[in-house]
């Protein structure tokens, strides 16, 4: 309702009657009947109350979300003894970078980060491409067996990775036919091969998103390209991909996040290759070995928290930076990525 009053005020200004908006409002108020006034008053009161409630709700829940992150930062820079000090809540008494350094060391952070970038981010990138090609195929071409294949895509979304991870393991263990088989376990190909063929982590969902998106693009784009003598593959590369840039970015972000956070698949296929998610899982034993030279040292769970939280902070910082930089595409790109309709 406030919209309409704004409109009236503006139009007064446009006419240039020389009345300030405040005067205009007063004049309008004088001309109003009692009912109209009370209606507007009720309206603005409701608006105020709602605004207040909205703020309380958003602030409270935002706090619930931010709380672990704030706690993480607070813990990562405090001394171990501060954990058992009841007077320390948020601001550490003994500020120290020691814990951070130890965790960096225990996680072998820079090497791990390199592995993660090569493996997870690389896979994420490759998978976006393969899923885009597949999604385009589903969106624009008509051929026999398409419905059956689409049903398989839906199955890929529904079937939890736990169901097929074991046979996949044996398959990678002896990859190939008969005599000509190689052991791919601990090889990066175990992640790259499925990603390349659109069968990696949550690939079904990504194919679905791309299909929806390409269906939403106007057909005239391609028709024009075909008339100009462009083949379907060239049309896809030169016409469709530039038009789908925002969708690519959104899906790529999702893909990076999913690969970054994955540890089920990598835990299944890797013994020695270490990604950040895997290192974080094994941080406990690693720390004990490095700091105290034995795995059996007893540490109270409260004291362990400092290292754990430091590890968490380290492992989400890169992706958090990515999120902050591309936040706009993440939160608004999704609306244009064709998930709807």
């Amino acid at each position: 309702m406030t919209d309409t009053t704004d409109a009236v005020v503006k139009s007064d200004k446009e006419i240039g009657s020389g009345i300030t908006p405040k005067d205009a409002k007063r004049i309008r108020m004088e001309n109003m009947s009692h009912e109209e006034k009370s209606y507007l008053r009720r309206r603005s009161l409701m608006e105020m109350v709602w605004r207040f409630f909205r703020f309380v709700i958003l602030f409270g829940l935002g706090f619930v979300i931010m709380y672990p992150l704030l706690y993480m930062i607070s813990c990562a820079f405090r001394d171990r003894s501060d954990m058992t000090d009841p007077t320390v809540m948020w601001i550490p008494r003994h500020f120290t970078l020691e814990i951070m350094k130890e965790t960096l060391d225990a996680m072998d952070f820079w090497n791990t980060l390199k592995t993660t970038l090569i493996l997870n981010v690389g896979c994420a990138f490759v998978q976006v491409l393969s899923c885009a090609v597949t999604g385009y195929g589903f969106a624009r071409f008509r051929f026999k067996g398409k419905n059956l294949m689409f049903a398989i895509v839906i199955m890929m979304i529904l079937i939890p990775p736990q169901v097929i991870s074991l046979p996949l393991y044996t398959q990678f263990r002896h990859f190939g036919i008969g005599e000509f088989s190689v052991n791919l376990i601990d090889n990066m190909l175990t992640m790259y091969l499925p990603a390349m063929t659109g069968n990696g982590i949550r690939a079904g969902l990504m194919i679905l998103i791309f299909r929806q998106f390409f269906r939403g693009l106007p057909k005239e784009l391609e028709d024009a390209a075909y008339i100009d003598g462009c083949g379907p593959f060239r049309t896809f590369i030169q016409v469709m991909i530039p038009n789908a840039a925002s969708a690519f970015l959104t899906v790529f972000l999702f893909s990076v996040v999913w690969y970054w956070n994955d540890y089920y698949v990598s835990a299944s296929f890797f013994n020695n290759t270490r990604t950040i998610a895997l290192m974080l899982q094994n941080l406990d034993t690693e720390l004990k070995q490095r700091l105290f030279n034995s795995v059996t040292v007893e540490l109270s769970s409260r004291e362990q928290i400092v290292w754990k939280e430091a590890g968490c902070l380290l492992s989400i910082t890169p992706i958090l930076l990515l999120y902050v930089c591309l936040q706009k595409y993440f939160t608004e790109g999704i609306e244009r990525s064709g998930l709807v309709g």
């Binding site: 958003l58 829940l61 195929g137 624009r140 996040v257 956070n261």
Partner: protein, 306 residues
């Protein structure tokens, strides 16, 4: 006339040719799906009926019928317990997550100062909640007790809910309702953190509501309440189904899931047959629950006729 015919014929053949290109676009995916999805899937189905022994270079199978399923359901000490716990949790959490995320999406769709910041914060769980970081955060929240959970339970504590109800003059509320409210407020952390993608999807749906519908509602003098039930709700109803399904899948595959942990633990003992049957029971339950949800939800969904 002949021109028209020939044009039609060439168009048809063009369509057919285009169809062949479709196979070209899907070819890579088809090969991959066969190797990395369909074959393992069928293998695991066969394994679940067999006793599997792994030798170097090959696997040998012995058909044992339903023995593995029997073992998983009756003999294994943890499996059924974990399964029941998880089912129960999914049952009460899913509707809460969906309602909550719809509510937040409606709020985040309104215009107010700092909306971008609010959205950025509410989407944060999307990038964190699928990984091991969440498991640690979650564990620390419960293990630190007084410093962790107490922080926001001072904000959302059951006492506060109770006091609020008393303040509003609601005394005669039954105990069931009371416990329900306290469960919700105690688990607010889990619910908020589980609803990132759902909020994202609902928001996308809300933005697709045609502005003309809003104008019409305003002219007719609809209140916010009426607007929600008559315009918003029907428009997002297909997404309620999508979100229900997504939430169910998400909770079944979440890293904090105990069934998954049990399956992983058994793998170290190389009991492949049992694991396969467990995984298939698990998948059967997921499929059944999604089927039931779809069946029920389809009765309430409004599809706009294009």
């Amino acid at each position: 006339m002949t021109e028209k015919n020939s044009a039609k014929r060439s168009r048809l053949s063009f369509e057919k040719r285009k169809g062949l290109y479709g196979y070209g676009f899907l070819g890579l995916w088809m090969i991959g799906t066969l190797i990395f999805f369909l074959i393992p899937l069928i293998k695991s189905l066969i394994w679940s009926f067999c006793e599997v022994t792994i030798n170097t270079g090959s696997t040998s199978l012995k058909w044992v019928g339903l023995k593995n399923f029997d073992y998983a359901l009756t003999t294994d000490p943890n499996y059924t317990d974990h399964l029941c716990d998880m089912l129960f949790e999914t049952l009460w959490k899913t509707p809460l997550v969906v309602i909550f995320s719809l509510f937040i999406a409606v709020i985040l769709n309104q215009k107010f100062k700092g909306r971008t910041l609010a959205r950025a914060i509410f989407f944060l769980p999307v990038i964190i909640a699928t990984g091991p970081v969440y498991a640690i955060i979650n564990g620390d929240m419960s293990s630190t007790g007084n410093t962790g959970a107490a922080q926001f339970s001072t904000m959302f504590s059951t006492d506060m809910v109770g006091e609020l109800l008393q303040f509003l003059g609601i005394y005669g509320l039954s105990d069931d309702m009371g416990t329900m409210i306290s469960t919700i407020s105690d688990n607010i952390f889990g619910i908020v953190w589980a609803s990132g993608i759902q909020i994202l999807l609902f928001l996308a749906a809300l933005q697709n509501i045609p502005p003309s519908a809003k104008e019409a509602a305003q002219i007719e003098g609809a209140t916010a309440w009426e607007y929600f039930w008559k315009i918003t709700f029907p428009n997002v109803s297909p997404f309620i189904l999508a979100n229900l399904i997504f939430t169910v899948i998400d909770s079944f595959t979440s890293p904090t899931n105990t069934v998954m942990k049990r399956i992983l633990a058994l793998r170290d003992d190389w009991q492949f047959g049992v694991i396969s049957s467990m995984a298939w029971i698990y998948f059967g339950i997921i499929l059944a629950s999604i089927g039931i949800i779809t069946f029920i939800a389809n009765k309430f969904i409004y599809y706009e006729v294009d």
